[in-house]
C-alpha cells in the first residue's frame, strides 16, 4: 500500500515538475490503452460507412457535382492567390523581412472519445508514428482548431482554442490590432480579455493568427468578434468571439508543419498607436 502511494506520488511530482521526462513511459502504456480509443470510436465509423454505402446514386451524383463546382471556384481563386503570394514575397524582400513559406499538412480524423469533461481536448488518429509532435497547430477548412497538446504513438491529443487553458495570439484583420484570444470553456466562444474600452474593434471583425509566439503560423482565420461591451468602471472591455472553425462538428482536421523556424515579424506600419497603448496598459 505504502509502496503504491509513494510511487504514484513520485510519478505525480516528476510529471508536474518536468513533463517531458515521463513521455516514454506514457508512450509505452498508450500501446495498451490506445486500441480502446479506436474501439470506442468504432460505432461512429460503422454508422458513417453504412450511411455512405446506402446513400443513393442520385445524392452521390449531386454531391459530386457540387464538389466539382466548388473545386473549380477554388481553383480560380488559387490562380489569383499564387500571383498575390509572389507579389507578397517580393514586397517582403523589399522590406528586408523574412516570409514563411510552404506549410505542409497531414489530415487526421477525430476519434469520438471523451477524455474528460470541462476540458476541450479531442483525440485524433495520427500520432508520433506520423511525425506529429506537441505544439503543432491544427486547422480545419474554416480556421484554426487548436494545437497538439500531447502526441502518443498512435493517437494525439489536441487542445481546442476554446479550452480555458488555451490562449492564442491574434490580430484584427481590419487594422492589425494585436491581442490575445483566450478560451472560455464554453463550446464556440472565445474571449479577448486584454483590450481597453476604447480599442478599435467592432462586432463582425475577423481575427487572424498574428504569428507571434511562434506556435501558429501567421494569417489563418481564428474567430469573428460578436460582442463588444465596455464598462466605464472596468479597465478592460468585455469582448467575445466565435471561432471560425467548426469545433464540434468536423471530423477531419489538418495538422500543420511549418517549414521555417518562427520569424520575429517586424510590426507593420498599420499597427497603430492603439496597440502600443494596449501593451502599456498591460
Amino acid at each position: 500500500m505504502l509502496v503504491a502511494v509513494i510511487v504514484s506520488t513520485a510519478l505525480l511530482a516528476t510529471e508536474y515538475k518536468s513533463p517531458p521526462r515521463l513521455d516514454s513511459l506514457r508512450a509505452t502504456l498508450s500501446f495498451f490503452v490506445d486500441p480502446l480509443k479506436y474501439l470506442v470510436d468504432l460505432p461512429t465509423v460503422l454508422v458513417e460507412q453504412t450511411a455512405d454505402s446506402i446513400s443513393s446514386y442520385r445524392t452521390l451524383k449531386k454531391e459530386n457535382e457540387r464538389l466539382r463546382e466548388e473545386q473549380l471556384e477554388h481553383q480560380a481563386r488559387l490562380l489569383k492567390f499564387a500571383a498575390l503570394e509572389n507579389e507578397n514575397i517580393r514586397l517582403h524582400a523589399l522590406l528586408e523581412n523574412s516570409y514563411k513559406l510552404g506549410e505542409q499538412v497531414l489530415v487526421a480524423e477525430l476519434l469520438s472519445v471523451n477524455m474528460a469533461p470541462y476540458e476541450h481536448i479531442v483525440v485524433v488518429n495520427k500520432g508520433t508514428r506520423f511525425g506529429v509532435h506537441p505544439q503543432q497547430p491544427v486547422l480545419d477548412a474554416n480556421g484554426v482548431v487548436g494545437q497538439v497538446f500531447r502526441a502518443l504513438p498512435f493517437t494525439s491529443e489536441i487542445m481546442l482554442i476554446t479550452d480555458p487553458n488555451h490562449a492564442i495570439p491574434v490580430q484584427v484583420n481590419r487594422n492589425g490590432l494585436l491581442t490575445i484570444a483566450v478560451g472560455s470553456g464554453q463550446p464556440n466562444r472565445l474571449v479577448l480579455p486584454f483590450l481597453p474600452g476604447n480599442a478599435d474593434i467592432r462586432p463582425g471583425d475577423l481575427l487572424i493568427t498574428s504569428g507571434l509566439g511562434g506556435t501558429f503560423p501567421q494569417g489563418y482565420p481564428v474567430a469573428v468578434v460578436d460582442e463588444f461591451t465596455s464598462q466605464p468602471n472596468k479597465a478592460f472591455a468585455t469582448i467575445t468571439a466565435t471561432p471560425k472553425a467548426l469545433l464540434d462538428r468536423n471530423r477531419e482536421l489538418m495538422i500543420v508543419w511549418s517549414d521555417s523556424t518562427p520569424v520575429p515579424l517586424i510590426a507593420k506600419p498599420t499597427t497603430n498607436n492603439e496597440e502600443t497603448k494596449t501593451h502599456a496598459d498591460k
Binding site: 500500500m1 503504491a4 502511494v5 510511487v7 504514484s8 506520488t9 513520485a10 510519478l11 505525480l12 510529471e15 508536474y16 515521463l22 513511459l25 506514457r26 502504456l29 498508450s30 495498451f32 490503452v33 480502446l36 480509443k37 474501439l39 470506442v40 461512429t44 469520438s112 472519445v113 471523451n114 477524455m115 474528460a116 469533461p117 470541462y118 481536448i121 497538446f149 500531447r150 491529443e157 480555458p164 487553458n165 470553456g185
Partner: protein, 162 residues
C-alpha cells in the same frame, strides 16, 4: 484449477477493459459531466468479491492506465484507486454483509474520496477552474452501483468463478 484461475483473471480484465471503454464513451453535451467513474466501480466490486485476486497492485496498474487513457498527470488515478482499494480490502468482510443501502453509502464515500484527491491534484495544476458539476459523477456513480453490482455478480457466478 489452473485453467479456471486463468479464465477468472481473464474475466476480470475483460470487465475492466469494458469499464475503461465506458469511461471514454462520447456522451453528448452536458451528459458528459454525468459519466461516472466506471473503472473505480468495477475495481471496487472485484476487490469486494474476490479480494484474494484483486489487490492494490492491480488497482494501481489500472489507475495508471486510466491516467494515460484520459490524459491526466501520470499517477493521480493510480494514487486514488490504490487508496480506495486498500480501504475496500480492509473492510471487505463487513461490506459483504451490508445491505445494499449501506453498501451504497460506502460507495458514495469511496467515490467522494477519489474525486477529492483528483480535485486536490487538479487544483495544484491550475487552481480554481472547476465547475460545481465536477462532483456530479459521485452521485451518478452511487446510483449506477446496484447496476454494476448486479451485472458483475452475474458475470462472476455465471460459470462459478471462485
Amino acid at each position: 484449477m489452473q485453467t479456471n484461475n486463468a479464465a477468472g483473471f481473464f474475466r476480470i480484465v475483460l470487465t475492466m477493459v469494458l469499464a475503461m471503454c465506458l469511461r471514454i464513451l462520447p456522451w453528448t453535451g452536458d451528459m458528459a459531466a454525468l459519466n461516472p467513474d466506471w473503472v473505480l466501480l468495477v475495481l471496487i466490486y472485484w476487490s469486494l468479491a474476490v479480494p484474494e485476486r484483486v489487490g492494490i497492485f492491480h488497482a494501481w496498474t489500472f489507475g495508471l492506465l486510466t491516467d494515460v487513457l484520459t490524459g491526466r498527470l501520470l499517477g493521480q488515478y493510480a494514487l486514488a484507486y490504490s487508496l480506495i482499494i486498500y480501504l475496500c480490502l480492509k473492510l471487505h468482510k463487513q461490506l459483504r454483509q451490508f445491505p445494499l443501502l449501506q453498501q451504497g453509502l460506502f460507495i458514495f464515500f469511496c467515490l467522494l474520496l477519489s474525486q477529492l484527491l483528483l480535485f486536490f491534484i487538479k487544483n495544484l495544476q491550475h487552481p480554481a477552474q472547476l465547475h460545481a458539476a465536477f462532483w456530479l459523477p459521485v452521485f451518478t456513480g452511487t446510483l449506477v452501483w446496484p447496476l454494476v453490482y448486479g451485472a458483475l455478480r452475474y458475470v462472476r457466478l455465471s460459470r462459478r468463478m471462485r
